[in-house]
Symmetry: C2
Subunit: 370 residues, 2 copies
């Protein structure tokens, strides 16, 4: 993996990550494909809307169908028929948010599957082994996602454990990485700036291909989130990609890009699509509203997606009310196209020195949605 910064101005930057499976233009939005499929989408449709990278979940794929099966079938790319970059998360977040009976020791985490209650143990080494078997392009170090709220003592202890695990991840990964997989470290530290800084220092001294901020967008206020983003963004290594995990609200994205972040992921566009909430150039709309019942216009007359080129709001409303699968498909295509287009326009604006205009324009629109 190689990262090249193309444009840099007032902390904000654009760049290109090059992997053996393709390039990723940054700031990048990574579409979430939890179980080895982006809900309602085919790989061809992802390519068509310009997706350059997707994110798959280690925890889910480990439990079902099992990483070994995927490994035997040639790895995740071949299994899911997506030949472009894939980032896998570490499994940490889901172990802590989805499973029950978590027993955390220095060694790792024992937990019960949310699917069938079966008992499992994931250590930093195991997470690396799973991700190497999945053969993703970018793996994430195994971490404990610090809950919110949490007192200083707890966060200190948890973050220190994450840092120890990061070291073990790096050691195991270095020894077993035969396929040029990149490995990113995750900076925890909760809402405490000095702990964030401690984590950052420890991780950079270990040395990773990229650095992520975990433990944000977990219930804290926007003010708290923004304080951490503003504090940490530009202290992270300049020459490596900076990934803000799980953040996808576009106002948060604008704030983070302004502070030097390069990568994002979020289920917001896909989940909202299935619930009938659609992003447009003038703000969000709920497609079930009566006012659209015989509206012949596309969702967004400024949008060039397959849905907007071919279907009326009236038909989309009908499909949604009739709970048809095509409703989820067309809505997802639209929302993902919107997101990728937003990021594309943001990069272009930045490259001609107009990021601030772009941000002001969108903050005006997004304000109305909140």
């Amino acid at each position: 993996m190689e990262f090249r910064i193309i444009n840099y101005k007032n902390s904000q930057r654009t760049g290109v990550i090059t992997t053996s499976r393709g390039v990723i233009h940054t700031p990048a939005f990574m579409i979430v494909g939890t179980q080895g499929t982006v809900k309602a989408m085919s790989p061809d449709e992802l390519k068509e809307i310009g997706a350059e990278i997707i994110l798959c979940n280690t925890y889910h794929l480990y439990l079902r169908p099992g990483h070994e099966i995927i490994g035997r079938l040639g790895g995740l790319h071949s299994f899911i028929n997506w030949n472009f970059p894939i980032l896998t998360d570490s499994g940490g977040f889901q172990v802590f948010s989805l499973s029950s009976l978590r027993n955390i020791t220095e060694q790792g985490v024992e937990f019960r599957s949310h699917l069938d209650g079966s008992l499992h143990f994931i250590s930093p080494e195991k997470s690396m082994e799973i991700q190497l078997t999945l053969a993703s392009d970018i793996a994430m170090a195994f971490d404990e996602c610090t809950p919110y709220p949490a007192d200083y003592e707890y966060v200190l202890k948890s973050s220190s454990l994450t840092n120890d695990w990061a070291k073990r991840c790096k050691a195991f990964h270095e020894k077993n990485n035969i396929q040029n997989q990149a490995l990113f470290g995750i900076i925890q530290g909760g809402m405490y700036k000095d702990l964030r800084m401690m984590c950052l220092n420890e991780l950079t001294s270990i040395g990773f291909d990229g650095y992520a901020i975990g433990g944000l967008s977990v219930g804290e206020s926007k003010e708290e989130m923004y304080e951490i983003i503003e504090y940490i963004g530009n202290k992270m290594p300049f020459e490596s990609p900076r990934y803000l995990m799980g953040v996808g609200d576009l106002r948060d994205v604008l704030k983070a890009v302004e502070n030097g972040f390069d990568m994002f992921d979020c289920v917001m566009p896909t989940r909202n699509a299935r619930n009938g909430t659609l992003f447009t150039s003038t703000g969000k709309i709920s497609i079930k509203r009566t006012e659209y019942k015989d509206d012949p216009n596309p969702l967004d007359s400024e949008c060039g997606c397959y849905t907007c080129r071919n279907y009326s709001r009236a038909y989309l409303r009908h499909l949604f009310l009739a709970r048809e699968i095509l409703s989820m498909r067309l809505n997802t295509i639209h929302n993902l196209y919107f997101y990728l287009n937003f990021f594309r326009n943001m990069r272009e604006a930045a490259e001609i020195g107009r990021f601030r205009d772009f941000k002001n324009h969108w903050e005006g629109i997004l304000e109305q949605d909140s």
Copy 2:
């Protein structure tokens, strides 16, 4: 609409129906798109697998979103983005199978919507008005689908009503058909050959563009169904398309094609797909079975569909168990491709005088599934 017979041998025939929106090769399988969408499919995917005609349900579209809305938006083709032929059923079957509180009079049927309990009245004229507003290429006369079992007296009365309604449908349709919509009559008569014959005679004396057999595949035995198919098929007008409604089990199709039928519709391939039951050149398979958990092979190595070209049984099993939308999509593409391919091969076999070989071959395979 024009119907031309290309090949005729031992009752069995192949032909071409030409409409202003495209041709339909017969024997034809019409894919069911109840609510104005074929479940899990996009119109582009339907084109790609070679679909020439789809069937939409008058009852459903009348209730939601309402035919008037569809009419205002330019008709059903434009509304659903499918510019090839559409056949609409009469609404009769669903009025009798889905709604509650049916009050049948000579005038028509009063019923309550299965969606919200609201009260509605559909007469033969109303059914024609709805279908003309939807602007389908082929409309069906409004009928009472005779239940099974039913005694002679009931069937006589019910069939006679259907015949009266057929006359009124024809009269209304003739007066208001400004768009070259074809109209098919429906032959009822239950399991009574003389009543089937009575209906056939009455309908041909009214005169329709095509003739359908209704009231089969409603719970009767295969023997009873085949008796009617064998009895009536070749008595139906030679020069018009013969449509066997709601029949799609491939053994029944083979029997009906042997007896001169040209058109079929059934939810079987789409519904089975969503339930994980898939048709292959060697018989049906249930994708959830453990034996497929690391099977790298396509569903059917002889199949050329998108699913078989790109995905393993192991991945399809995973998607099914994970209840992913892509599971329903890929399975539906495969089953519909299989059905259309079956019909294509059947036509080709017939045209080179090998229909009997084709039938014997498939009966051997289908036997194992039953």
